[in-house]
């Protein structure tokens, strides 16, 4: 995984406090809006995101650039690849 600080974030979504399936659906919406190559940042405090988000990214063939544990939430950086 690459270092977050070097990546330019195009769309940022704060889904903290949102319950399943909120964060996942917010991420999918943002990926739909983004251009290929752009990075989407997702902040989620929902526990299921830890497994669901990487699994969805793998299936959708996008790139999980970074996944960082913050205080009370997780930060996902996702590159749209297609």
């Amino acid at each position: 995984m690459k270092k977050m600080s070097k990546e330019k974030i195009s769309i940022s979504i704060d889904a903290r406090g949102s319950h399943c399936p909120g964060p996942m659906m917010e991420l999918i919406k943002a990926i739909r809006q983004a251009e290929v190559g752009e990075i989407v940042e997702l902040l989620s405090s929902e526990e299921g995101s830890l497994s669901d988000i990487p699994a969805w990214i793998e299936k959708a063939k996008h790139e999980l650039v970074d996944m960082i544990k913050e205080d009370g939430y997780n930060r996902f950086l996702v590159r749209k690849t297609r």
């Binding site: 949102s18 399936p21 909120g22 497994s51 299936k59 959708a60 063939k61």
Partner: protein, 380 residues
């Protein structure tokens, strides 16, 4: 008089208007309900009607039988809310003043890429005409692949596509066609339902009953010519018959009044049910962005909070009553059995309801009577 306007006369709007009517004399409430339709219909039974021959007209009740005396029903469409002037503008230009407003506008279905009525092999069951079209098809069905999927999340009644799939499985078994049919259930998540505890049970039942589940599958478009469902993740899934829930969005009035998010849902305080930034406006039911199901049960359990908070504000107090996210709904698993989902913001679905039982199905079947005779009238 304290002028209260309720926009929308579905289950949510009627329930709140009728509950307020019970307090009308004591608190000097002048209640107006704006709803252009002259009837209400019972949506939860559409999953049964998709597989029977009963008249869909049985699901309708005229509005005049459902509205309490102290509610003034205006049979017109509300066009816009002017929040600064505290006015609602009707379609004919009439302006109505309010002190308190309740938004119960529900959702609308979008037909973006095709019209369901023009597609022989694409169906849904979220309206009586669409249900009628599906049941004409299923009566003639001799075998093939039936694919079921939502098109957007959120959608009304999260258990509905799961219930529909179980009913389809049972119906095909009854007609001895199950071995000639493949049923595929597509869903955006890792599990086939939004309530996790129940989703695990549903996934196991799908496996046992030979229902194929495709996880992380979000609708992108349909290749109508080649009869393929195309997912956002890049999958192509062939079908003979596609049951695709309609695209849901908030109503135009919400967007045009600047009261909605991008999808037209109303940002709503999940406890007080006040519209964020508008302390004298409340939202109830499917039009909200509440982090729970778009289901009648949510409206039923949240309506008393709105009534209490409006009364609190009339008395010059804070809107301190809080909705705790309480929801109880049924999930049909066959002709005979159902689960009972009982959850809130504070606890996941109770385990006792997750075993499919006949008694829950009995409740589900009785519910239409309760809906029209007790719940929608605000009696409890």
């Amino acid at each position: 008089m304290n002028k209260i306007i309720v926009i929308g006369g579905g289950f949510s709007g009627l329930t709140i208007a009728n509950k307020l009517a019970k307090k009308a004399r004591k608190y000097k409430l002048d209640i107006t309900l704006i709803e252009p339709k002259d009837h209400n219909f019972y949506e939860p039974d559409l999953i049964f009607y998709a597989f029977n021959n009963k008249k869909l007209s049985k699901l309708y009740k005229p509005m005049h039988k459902l509205v309490r005396k102290r509610v003034n029903h205006i049979g017109m469409r509300a066009k816009k809310v002017e929040t600064e002037k505290k006015k609602v503008i009707l379609e004919d230009g009439t302006e109505l003043d309010y002190d308190y407003l309740v938004l119960a506008t529900g959702v609308k279905y979008i037909e973006k890429d095709f019209k369901y009525s023009e597609q022989k092999h694409i169906h849904h069951f979220y309206s009586p005409p669409a249900t009628e079209k599906f049941r004409q098809m299923i009566k003639r069905f001799k075998g093939g692949t039936i694919v079921i999927s939502p098109s957007t999340v959120p959608y009304k009644c999260p258990p509905a596509p799961v219930e529909f799939t179980f009913m389809l499985d049972s119906y095909l078994k009854k007609r001895k066609l199950r071995d000639k049919a493949t049923i595929k259930f597509l869903y955006p998540l890792s599990v086939p339902f939004t309530v996790k505890e129940a989703a695990v049970v549903v996934a196991e039942m799908y496996k046992k009953r030979g229902i194929e589940f495709v996880p992380y599958c979000n609708y992108e478009k349909v290749d109508i010519e080649n009869k393929k469902f195309i997912s956002f993740e890049g999958e192509e899934i062939e079908y003979d018959e596609l049951v695709l829930l309609p695209i849901h969005e908030g109503q135009d009035i919400i967007k045009e009044s600047g009261l909605g998010d991008k999808e037209g849902y109303v940002p709503t305080d999940k406890f007080t049910l006040q519209v964020k930034g508008h302390p004298n406006i409340y939202a109830i039911g499917d039009c909200t962005d509440l982090p729970t199901s778009k289901a009648g049960a949510v409206s039923h359990y949240s309506a008393p909070t709105i009534v209490k908070n409006i009364i609190n504000q009339i008395k010059g107090k804070e809107a301190s009553a809080k909705y705790n996210g309480k929801t109880i709904c049924f999930l049909v698993t066959s002709y005979q059995k159902a689960m009972m989902l009982d959850f809130s913001y504070n606890h996941p679905s109770r385990k006792y309801g997750l075993i499919p039982m006949r008694i829950y199905m009995l409740f589900k079947r009785l519910f239409r009577f309760l809906y029209f005779h007790i719940l929608i009238k605000g009696i409890i």
